[in-house]
């Protein structure tokens, strides 16, 4: 019956709109393209916003039905018109009476509305007087609502009656007004019933979505949407409509899919371009407003208003379901759109807390203005702040907090150790690591070109080396200067890798166990790569055989590179470097002596660590190298070492480690030969030391004298002690 009535009302309109088709198409076209662009853009923004700050049912649950209600109310009127077509076409039963009730009968609440009150009649009901201020409105609404008069809300009424005033179109006004007081409403029954109907109708109307933003609540919520049965796809796409056509569509009872078309509520046509009879509320409103309101979210204007905390929640999602056009560009949810599980827990805990306190506070409160900020909005702010905590590299993005917290923890453990106070956990922010999906590439990307170097040099000044290196010819490379540049270039590259390795190491300290393994693999791989480069990368620049590592060692930056790399290398590799340093010791010492600045000591500490891990056999091999005569001079490394700070410290460290190994409880079984070499070395060292003037070592191991005590007579030891502990003085003869 309702449907019949609606039908008869629509008939004249249909004719009118048919007439309208004839004129005014061209001026619409520009506006249409513009509109389409806006719609697209806004849909994207809206969807992104939705994905980022989506409030799950649990989080925004208490408000969600509010939006739902508004649209259900509006939608249901459309239903009256459309249900006829539906029941005709699909044999579906007419919609339940609850929906009609939600359609905005102001007076009798919760009574099933009889069908003798057709919806179109509503349009003749005078519009309720508007209140002026939002807060006043809300206060008034609150009072009314607490008396269980839900539907007398002026905003709701207006939107239901559908007079296309600015206020009724401003979804923000409607949404916020209702959502803030939703917790005091009690509409579950109506809502679910209405939802069912909407669901069912939508099943036939929403075109299939090929968009796979799988995590979007939209698709999760309505995975059952199926292909349209009666409509060509193009009609469903927002961009397929000219404003004129959009106006016509609702008027046509044979197009039940119209709720998904964006209808421009404020087209200049409807407002000014048409004869006034078309605009008269009695003829126009029952169709246009009732049908257009459910589609409102798709109009650009409303979309803009919906941005932010007011963004649609999954409740009314059917109306915001993915647009029909699968070609539209969507931003897929990035890493930032998901909350850390711990954060989610905190949020839901908070939700539960507030919900329970809400229940307690049902009775009228002393502060009528309280809760102007709805729980949904609060959750939105919290979410936003939590998302900001996620970082790919907290030590970079959030250094101060990380450093502060580390210090705080250290201090607390100290206090605990001293027993100053009981164990106390300081409040901590969760700062989860996230893996970025794509890597941001800054613009600075030059392959040996000089064109943009000026820009790049501020990022990495040494790129100038690259530029020179690439531009010179092969024969120029033989030139010693260029060879050096080549070495510098390689060192530069290796330093970059080394920095990455160190970064990985730092990250690993704070990562959970399972991720650490993965990081460890990358790290090992990079270290190996570095070592290979170190060993073989300099072949070109150094033609002599047996000169492994020498080019790098000759550059002070290379020394620093090796010093930093040593701690990452496996023992065999580190030993190779150690032997190389020893082998080239005379040259390195000579270089150090030439410069005013000594670069070798940077190697001391890392090399000592390596020495500490050597076995006795390895140690003896190293020492043998020390005492072996040099090819083109009468000196041994030993005699030279006495005059170099680094070399003597190095020697001491080796001897000290040998002594430690021998005096340790763990049995080492040196072969006779090895032991002989060891003894010989100790003797020759003692001899050399007692005959030279020594420089002060970087560090004097404490067990050195006890080592000599073992092999030398007392007098010799005393003499040696004198020279070792008072460096610089001439040995007592």
């Amino acid at each position: 019956m309702t449907a019949d009535l609606a039908d008869t009302e629509w008939c004249p309109l249909l004719q009118e709109t048919d007439e309208c088709k004839a004129d005014g198409h061209s001026e619409d076209e520009e506006a249409t393209t513009l509109l389409q662009e806006m719609v697209e853009e806004d849909e994207e923004i809206d969807l992104y916003n939705e994905e980022t700050f989506r409030l799950d049912m649990e989080s925004g649950g208490e408000e969600d039905p509010a939006d739902l209600f508004v649209f259900c109310g509006e939608f249901s009127q459309f239903e009256k018109g459309a249900s006829k077509d539906l029941s005709k076409m699909n044999g579906e039963p007419p919609k339940p009476p609850e929906v009609q009730q939600a359609a905005g009968q102001p007076a009798p609440q919760r009574l099933p509305v009889t069908k003798s009150q057709p919806a179109p009649a509503l349009s003749k009901v005078p519009v309720a007087p508007r209140t002026t201020g939002r807060i006043e409105m809300r206060g008034e609404r609150r009072r009314e609502l607490s008396k269980k008069m839900e539907f007398q809300d002026p905003a709701v009424l207006k939107s239901i009656k559908g007079k296309p005033t600015l206020e009724s179109l401003d979804s923000a006004v409607v949404d916020s007004g209702i959502s803030s007081t939703w917790d005091e409403m009690d509409l579950e029954a109506e809502d679910t019933a209405a939802m069912k109907v909407i669901d069912r109708t939508l099943e036939q109307r929403i075109p299939p979505t090929t968009l796979d933003f799988l995590s979007s609540p939209l698709t999760h919520q309505y995975p059952e949407v199926s292909a349209p049965k009666h409509a060509p796809q193009g009609h469903l796409s927002p961009r397929a409509f000219s404003p004129r056509y959009m106006q016509q569509v609702p008027a046509c009872p044979m197009m039940p899919r119209s709720p998904l078309c964006p209808v421009r509520p404020y087209s200049s046509q409807t407002r000014f371009g048409q004869p006034s009879r078309y605009l008269s509320p009695s003829s126009f409103r029952p169709t246009s407003s009732n049908i257009s309101t459910p589609t409102r979210p798709l109009t650009p204007k409303v979309l803009q208003m919906r941005f932010g905390p007011m963004s649609p929640s999954p409740g009314p999602a059917p109306f915001f379901s993915p647009p029909a056009n699968p070609l539209q560009r969507f931003r897929f949810p990035g890493h930032v759109t998901q909350l850390h599980p711990q954060h989610r827990r905190i949020l839901s805990q908070r939700q539960q807390r507030t919900q329970s306190s809400m229940r307690k506070q049902r009775e009228p409160r002393s502060d009528p203005y309280a809760n102007i900020m709805s729980a949904k909005e609060k959750a939105w702010v919290i979410r936003l702040q939590m998302i900001q905590l996620q970082s790919e590299n907290p030590h970079l993005d959030d250094y101060y907090y990380q450093a502060y917290y580390q210090k705080l923890e250290e201090k607390l453990t100290e206090d605990e150790l001293l027993g100053d106070r009981a164990k106390k956990e300081p409040p901590k922010l969760m700062t989860p690591y996230v893996q970025k999906a794509e890597i941001y590439e800054p613009v600075v990307h030059i392959e040996g070109s000089l064109g943009q170097v000026a820009v790049s040099t501020c990022y990495s000044p040494r790129r100038a080396i690259d530029a020179v290196h690439v531009h010179c010819q092969e024969e120029d490379l033989k030139d010693i200067g260029h060879r050096r540049l080549g070495v510098l270039n390689l060192i530069e590259k290796m330093f970059m890798t080394l920095l990455e390795v160190e970064e990985l190491q730092k990250k690993m300290a704070v990562l959970p166990e399972e991720e650490r393994v993965r990081f460890h693999d990358t790290l090992t791989c990079k270290v190996n790569q570095l070592f290979h480069l170190l060993k073989e990368g300099f072949q070109e620049s150094c033609h002599e055989l047996d000169a492994e590592f020498l080019p790098v060692l000759l550059v002070s930056k290379g020394k620093r590179l090796i010093a930093r790399l040593l701690s990452f290398l496996p023992l065999e590799a580190a030993l190779e470097i150690l032997v190389a340093v020893l082998k080239h010791l005379p040259l390195l010492m000579a270089q150090d002596a030439e410069c005013s600045y000594e670069a070798l000591p940077v190697l001391y500490t890392p090399l000592c660590t390596v020495i500490g891990h050597l076995s006795f056999t390895q140690l003896v091999q190293v020492l043998k190298e020390f005492t072996a005569p040099l090819p083109d001079s009468t000196d041994t490394r030993l005699s030279l070492a006495c005059h170099n700070k680094f070399a003597i410290s190095f020697l001491y460290a080796l001897l000290s480690h040998g002594e430690r190994l021998l005096s340790a409880d763990t049995p080492i079984e040196p072969g006779i030969e090895e032991f002989d070499i060891w003894t010989d070395t100790v003797f020759s060292v003692a001899k050399q030391l007692s005959h030279s003037s020594l420089v002060e070592p970087l560090l004097l191991p404490s067990n050195l004298l006890s080592l000599f005590c073992r092999y030398l007579d007392k007098q010799a030891v005393v003499q040696l002690e004198g020279t070792i502990e008072r460096p610089g003085s001439l040995p007592v003869q």
Binding site: Y369, A370, M373, K378, V381, E425, P427, L429
Partner: protein
């Protein structure tokens, strides 16, 4: 134990009476109604309080929307302890007059100081003139 990050921690303070000190030195007292991620504030039933010595006066201001960056200090006011303050409330006219006198005295002092510095061959730019450039 964990706490809310950033301005989210302010959410617990909503609908409570707060004192807000702004960057320009004004003091506002009102009910915090809404915040956002930038700590922009909506204050309701706001009064602007002017303190001069031991006296203070309140100018009713209504609703205030404060841009977050302008907040120097924000704190909840204990409604129970609010009454037993040692300060004395006076009328708006009186406090404005007091304020005027105080500012005048301050300016005089500043002038004298500047004069003295000038005599010694020193000159410092005043803070407010610095702002303009």
């Amino acid at each position: 134990m964990n706490y809310m990050p950033g301005t989210a921690s302010l959410i617990e303070d909503i609908d409570k009476k707060h004192l807000v000190l702004l960057r320009d030195g004004r003091t506002l007292i009102g009910f915090l109604r809404s915040i956002d991620q930038f700590a922009n504030l909506v204050l309701h039933q706001t009064v602007e309080r002017i303190h001069v010595g031991k006296k203070y006066g309140d100018i009713p201001r209504g609703i205030f929307i404060v841009r977050g960056e302008n907040v120097v200090l924000l704190g909840e006011i204990d409604l129970e302890k609010e009454i037993d303050t040692p300060l004395q409330q006076v009328s708006i006219e009186e406090i404005l007059e007091e304020q005027r006198v105080e500012q005048q005295a301050k300016q005089e002092a500043e002038k004298l100081k500047l004069q003295a510095l000038k005599e010694r061959g020193l000159s410092i730019l005043r803070a407010d003139t610095l702002d303009e450039y």
